[in-house]
Amino acid sequence: MKPDVVVVGGGMSGLAAGVGLAEAGASVLVLAKGAGSLQLAPGTIDLLGYAGERVDHPLRAIAALAERDPGHPYALLGADVVADAARWLCSRVADGPLAPYRYVGSPEDNMLLPTAIGVPRPSALVPETMGAGDLRQGGRMLVVGFRGMKDFHPALIADNLTRATGGAMEVRATQIDPPALDGEPGTMRLARALGRPGVAEALATRLATVGRDDEVLALPAVLSIGDPHGVWETLQRGAGRPVCEIPTLPPSVPGLRLFDTLRTLLRRAGGRLVTGSHVVGFKGSGDHIEALRVHVSGGERIYATRWVVLATGGVSSGGLTLDADWRMRETALGLDVAGVPAPRQARFSPRYLDDHPLGRAGVAADGDLRPLDARGQRRWENVLVVGGALGGAEPWREKSGEGIALASGHRAAQLILGAEGSVSDSAATKVAQPIA
């Protein structure tokens, strides 16, 4: 079978592209090296949190950023694509296997959610299970930890949140015993336990006894992998108060939920996901890549394809690498990487939290997401670059990583569908479907 599209990478950008294409009728193969980067991410969709100053209205700020910084991925995409992609994702999660679990929020406004160290962090779209943590509402919060859990420290969170809100919010902390577990109370073990019958009910009974009636209860993000809506509802009902999740260090439970959701949607639409695979070469002719050489299951396979979506991510995902001679490569197709300081030039600043010269390195692309070579020429006509592999952004500092990944993945699907007239008609209706 010759897939219409091979997507390389199983994170946010690759799955957004893959689901969009498959649901529009394209034949899609997603090649993923591992479990994808979503399990590392907090599970929120951060469109733009900081552009120098903190961003309150991401779409507006993205439009301004696109004007100001033509090398930024958002300049290639534009605010409308971002808005469209955000609505699309919300609709897909709402139709997904975890429904009625859904995402709340809007691309117009950032919420401020507590991080696991107690910083109010701007996010646009967040799981419903986090929404009650929005610090813009003020009020009181009780951070509830589980004794012995090393990846969640309620007292520190509470101290920092109180200071961060200038005392406007009163945030307290408490610790309770974790549910009975077979081993130490780690994130995954707690999440699995809360998915088992009776465990959430018992926790809800316990939560009813902590804190005051007017406090939002903030728990680590462990409210099950498979039934977050049900567990969350059970806890809120039992506690008689709003409950919210705070994302923890990897592995991230909300990130896994999003990964499971998108993977299920991909498969439902007939797409395939092959994990444990990585691209080791390709066959190209002129300005087209005709096939990818892929290491999978200890052997090598050739996948012929009409389109390639390169969604391999940045350095942290292995999509880009810097070698010992200080040269940077794109690892799957050997594309040129822009924004790399010359050998013997500073790559990093000595101060950790400063901007680093290498920080924005990545593949340069044009408005159709086609990769550009070092001379600024299109390298391949049928390759689209999405997500963290794109240069020009500092995703963690900007809190823009998921937004760029989602919007560029979504845009890549639209561009391919647009070029393939035959499938694009059916796709257009789905893609443009508004959400409630």
């Binding site: 991410a41 907090p42 160290i117 420290h153 101290d159 200071r163 963690w396």
Partner: protein
């Protein structure tokens, strides 16, 4: 605060100073050891971890070689728990002069360093990563020694014998009464409180800073040339034996397996300031290339961290000695003879391997000056933790872990369980995670603090009853401290790891917007 009264004030919490304080405590002197920072935060904690057999010096500096092998054998008895008995090899790579091997053998015979020439295929059987083109090889009793463990053991020994250890106490003035040094004013660098120490005798063991300290006593001309060298820790034990190049001492001539890493050293650049620990890109490239001579493919192996240390090389402005005398041997300056200043000695130079001998000579000189006969006991008295005489082995922590797996690990890389971390935080009473690193190796593994920095901060906040601002400062300080040693070598998998850490700290936790990080 009332002044501390002591028989002996020792300035400098490196191996030499702690060794002096340990030696003096064993001889019954009430001793106070002070350092402006933590123990082993200077040169002692910034070397490659080699316990010298002496082989490195048998040709160039025979006296140093003999001292090394004697001390090597003593430390194996009294400080066994801090030592890994790796053994050492001297190998002639294709780039090395083969005839040096004969000089080397002769030098070993002359200086008493045990040596055995072994077949190169035997070397490659033992150490498969070593350059297969080596032409000769010699085995010597090198080892590796954990300086932080050593200093912690010395500190325990000092306090067990009635001494005091004051870290983060900087000497801001030395006091003289006539021609005698009588004590010092200290400033607690964490609280800015000042404190007086009166001491019958003062020993300056401040290494590369010895000139600055002796100047406070009005003594001129103690010129320490800071010889700065960089070292790079590789993520794996590329070798399990210390591997030296069989050549005259040169840059990048040694690879030391220590704990879970291997360390290549070193360069030698004359610095103006002992506090200048700059790592130059050219030196990094030079070390990586040198490593390739010993272990082909080294340059592309995963480098974990780089740091610089300064050798204290003494050049006496008063004596017109040859440069030979500023080599690796140590120097004892009796300021009574040299400068007419009583009750004050400087001991400097030397190597970590010979710290015990240096301490003995310094305390012997003090006894002589005081007219007392109290014999040295450090040759026989094991350090706390080394009573059984068992060497450290690389599986020690794993063995402890396997015997009690119920205690959750806070730092998986270095296998540090939570109760151990909490105990160290209580014992040290510190708000600085780098102190915990030196005590337990927190954050020294492959992820360089990626996970444990957050966890340890949360635990420190709880255990130490800290406020949020202090805890945040601990976290940001440790992130910066970890970054300091990684950014100059970041590439390949370690860069990827580092970006994952950014994802956690900047992306997920958003530490750059902690309430007052700019103040931290």
């Amino acid at each position: 605060m009332s002044p501390i009264e002591a028989d002996l004030l020792v300035i400098g919490g490196g191996a030499t100073g702690a060794g002096v304080a340990w030696d003096a405590s064993l001889r019954g002197y009430r001793t106070v050891l002070v350092d402006r920072s933590d123990l082993a935060d200077g040169t002692s904690g910034r070397f490659h971890g080699l316990l010298h057999s002496g082989g490195r010096y048998v040709v160039k500096d025979p006296r140093a070689a003999t001292e090394c092998i004697k001390e090597n054998l003593i430390l194996r008895q009294v400080a066994a728990a801090t030592i890994e008995d790796t053994g050492g090899l001297f190998v002639s790579t294709p780039a090395d002069d083969l005839s040096y091997g004969d000089e080397f053998l002769q030098g070993c015979a002359d200086t008493g360093v045990p040596v055995e020439e072994i077949a190169t295929d035997e070397v490659l059987r033992r150490e498969p990563r070593v350059n297969p083109a080596i032409r000769r090889a010699f085995a010597v009793p090198d080892g590796s020694i954990d300086a932080w463990k050593l200093l912690n053991a010395l500190a325990s020994g000092i306090t067990e014998h009635g001494g005091r250890v004051l870290t983060y106490h900087k000497v801001i003035a030395l006091h003289r009464d006539g021609d005698a040094v009588t004590g010092a004013t200290l400033r607690d660098t964490r609280t800015d409180e000042e404190m007086e120490v009166t001491a019958a005798f003062t020993i300056n063991a401040s290494g590369a800073w010895a000139g600055q300290i002796s100047a406070m006593a009005g003594i001129e001309g103690v010129t320490i040339v800071p010889g700065r060298g960089i070292m790079i820790a590789m993520n794996h034990r590329l070798v399990n034996t210390v591997v030296n190049r069989c050549t005259m001492p040169a840059d990048g001539d040694i690879l030391v397996p220590i704990r879970t890493v291997s360390v290549i050293g070193t360069t030698d650049v004359e610095a103006d300031d002992p506090d200048d620990l700059t790592v130059a890109q050219a030196e990094v490239d030079q070390m990586l290339d040198a490593g390739d001579q010993l272990v082909p493919g080294f340059r592309n192996a995963r480098a974990l961290r780089v740091w610089a240390g300064v050798r204290p090389l003494f050049r006496d402005a008063r004596a017109q000695g040859s440069d030979r005398d500023i080599s690796r041997a140590h120097t004892l300056l009796d300021h009574r003879e040299r400068d007419g200043v009583q009750r004050f000695i400087t001991i400097t130079g030397g190597k970590l391997t010979t710290f015990r001998l240096m301490a003995q000579e310094a305390v012997d000189a003090m006894c002589l000056a005081l007219g007392e006969d109290r014999p040295c006991r450090t040759r026989e008295q094991p350090l706390p933790g080394s009573e059984s005489g068992e060497y450290y082995t690389v599986g020690t922590r794993l063995r402890a872990r396997e015997s009690d797996g119920s205690d959750p690990l806070v730092c998986e890389c270095e296998m540090i369980p939570r109760t151990r971390l909490e105990a160290a935080m209580r014992d040290k009473g510190t708000v600085n995670l780098d102190d915990i690193r030196r005590a337990l190796r927190l954050g020294m593994g492959p992820c360089q603090g990626g996970f444990c920095t957050y966890r340890a901060t949360g635990i420190l906040h709880e255990v130490g009853h800290l406020d949020g601002a202090t805890a945040d400062a601990a976290l940001l300080g440790f992130l910066q401290e970890r970054w300091k040693g990684t950014w100059p070598i970041l590439h390949g998998d370690q860069l990827r790891q580092s970006r994952l850490d950014d994802w956690i700290y900047q992306g997920l936790l958003d530490v750059e917007h902690l309430p007052d990080w700019t103040a931290a």
